[in-house]
């Protein structure tokens, strides 16, 4: 039998169901690994001290007939998702000491199923970043090579799984924050359809883009976790039913579309994953999929468009952290000075940068030139995708331009860091689901080089199609 921390969710749930393994034993094994490795990796900001009690509860639920796959399964939670009465920081000093007053909807769903929460995972402050180096509580290291970043912003969630300290995790994805770290750590990550998962209890970054999703070892596990958290929620008016979008009629094998990567020429990102991607495309052909070229002529504007829309939304969302209602409060000469001193002391560098950009692009005289123009270009990008999905069912791209970079390599070059999102951000602009699956595993299931991923995108609410194709690719 595999050592417990290497188990997938599916394997663990079979053992739990057959009573060959108790959640308490499984949780203990996972905790041992998490506690041993966290000092070096810094995946967790906090490992909860009641994990074994949670596991005992889950074991009771199982004895009482709970057959949920996730019952008793140890899961890590990104620290921008609220768990009632536990601390939550979004990796920012400004939320230091704050305790959540309610459960996020995804958390209450997982609690009902009997999941065990191991801890809160590190992230780039307020999910702004692609390396987890922007955390106010120190960088997270990539467990596969500790001189490299785990990606971000859900880098702690990815590292927690990759080091064996959780069987699965929740992350959030605004431009690639689930998919890029999953890819960098050799994992599967799903950015679900915008609105398919409730964001009630997710600390907001870019409200027209944010979505919560699963990070796991296999596509099957991502499916289990996604099906457990999805659904319309009366607490989130942007959540929607599946029926909101038309179901695509697919006869036979789904058709795959790829776009000419030269369409990204001039954007400034060096695409090193090209050969691996071509090999992945050939693998799909060998599996009997038809592959045709599509045009996404506005995709080169996806990152610049994002860096107008996101700062605009983030600067609005983050205005609430004023030292009055939550966390940090620094005393000033008057009310306004309190705000300034609190934000001055509480927000880190990248957060301030984006708030300033957001304030600029929304300010009088500039909003037409930047913000409104960006919304128009976003629509052009969406049109390209709608057009492409008339002739294909799946769009396939590399997940990232390269594998995990070195700690410190890009941290002082914001634009280089922003270009990390080049393949992932279009799915956030358009709201479609996107799945990353490791694409350079060796025949033993490990990695000879740092991991790379391939990304599959489907029309709105077609996650099940992604799972089917992803499982085929994973074989």
């Amino acid at each position: 039998m595999k050592k417990y921390p290497e188990l997938t969710i599916k394997e663990a749930s079979v053992l739990l169901e057959k009573k060959e393994l108790s959640s308490k034993d499984l949780t203990e094994m996972v905790l041992d690994v998490a506690e041993e490795k966290n000092g070096d990796i810094n995946a967790y900001l906090e490992i909860f001290d009641d994990c074994l009690e949670q596991a005992e509860e889950a074991d009771k639920l199982r004895s009482n007939g709970n057959t949920e796959a996730l019952c008793g399964v140890p899961i890590a939670i990104k620290d921008n998702i609220l768990i009632k009465d536990r601390r939550v920081t979004a990796a920012s000093k400004i939320l230091e000491g704050y305790r959540a007053v309610y459960d996020a909807t995804v958390i209450s769903k997982l609690k009902t199923k009997g999941s065990v929460f191991i801890g809160r995972t590190n992230l780039d402050e307020f999910a702004m970043g692609a390396s987890t180096e922007n955390s106010a509580y120190g960088s997270t290291k990539n467990p596969l090579d500790t001189t490299r970043v785990p990606g971000g912003s859900s880098g702690g969630s990815a590292a927690a799984i990759a080091m064996g300290g959780a069987l699965g995790a929740l992350g959030s994805d605004t431009a690639g924050s689930i998919r890029q770290p999953a890819s960098f750590c050799g994992l599967v990550g799903l950015k679900p359809t915008y609105g398919s998962v409730s964001r009630h209890g997710l600390i907001a970054l870019g409200s027209s883009l944010d979505v919560i999703g699963p990070m796991t070892k296999t596509v099957g596990d991502a499916e289990i976790l996604f099906n457990s958290i999805k659904g319309k929620d009366s607490y989130d008016s942007t959540s929607v039913d599946e029926s909101m979008f038309p179901k695509k009629e697919i006869s036979g094998k789904p058709r795959i579309g790829i776009f000419n990567l030269d369409e990204l020429a001039g954007v400034g990102a060096k695409i090193e994953s090209y050969d691996n991607f071509n090999a992945s495309v050939n693998k799909m052909r060998d599996l009997g999929y038809s592959v045709e070229e599509i045009s996404l002529k506005n995709i080169k504007y996806a990152v610049p468009t994002y860096y107008v829309i996101l700062p605009a939304e983030a600067s609005s969302n983050l205005a609430r952290f004023d030292g009055v209602r939550y966390g940090l409060s620094v005393d000033g000469e008057n009310g306004i000075d309190d705000f300034k001193k609190t934000k001055g002391a509480g927000f880190g560098k990248e957060v301030r940068r984006r708030i300033i950009i957001g304030t600029y692009v929304l300010s009088a005289g500039y909003s037409d030139e930047y913000y409104k123009k960006a919304l128009k270009v976003r629509e052009l990008i969406s049109q390209d995708f709608r057009e492409a999905f008339k002739s294909v069912d799946i769009i396939m791209t590399p997940t990232t331009a390269s594998s995990a970079f070195k700690l410190g390599e890009k941290v002082n070059d914001p634009v280089a860091m922003y270009l990390e999102d080049i393949f992932t951000v279009p799915a956030n602009h358009t709201g479609i689901p996107a799945l990353t699956v490791p694409s350079n595993k060796n025949k033993d299931g490990g990695f000879d080089d740092m991991p790379l991923g391939v990304q599959f995108m489907a029309p709105h609410m077609h996650e099940s199609l992604l799972f089917t194709v992803g499982k085929d690719f994973e074989k």
């Binding site: 209602r325 940068r353 300033i356 300010s363 123009k373 128009k376 052009l380």
Partner: protein, 94 residues
């Protein structure tokens, strides 16, 4: 286009205290980021007047089903940095 005074003004609008040194550093960085996003200006504007996402729709609900009064008050007040009984204390505004 962006100078230190502009950054100072924006920081003031966003209510963030910054040192002069930081304002200076941000000036270059923000300039660089704005140059980067400038490329969206070349994107075609055809049909772009109709930029509203076609999937957008209004969500309306009746203003009813109120939860019990003060159900969450204690928990919410608990987290405020400065409080007095069931009130959050702030400095006087006028």
């Amino acid at each position: 286009m962006i100078d230190k005074e502009k950054i100072h003004e924006l920081a003031n609008l966003a209510r963030i205290n910054m040192t002069e040194e930081e304002e200076k550093e941000l000036t270059g960085e923000v300039e660089h980021i704005l140059e980067f996003v400038e490329s969206i200006q070349e994107a075609s504007s055809v049909e772009s007047d109709n930029f509203k996402n076609t999937q957008s729709y209004n969500v309306m609900r009746k203003d009813d089903n109120e939860h019990n009064k003060s159900l969450y008050t204690k928990d919410l007040i608990r987290e405020a940095p400065d409080k007095d009984g069931n009130y959050v204390r702030v400095k006087k505004i006028l």
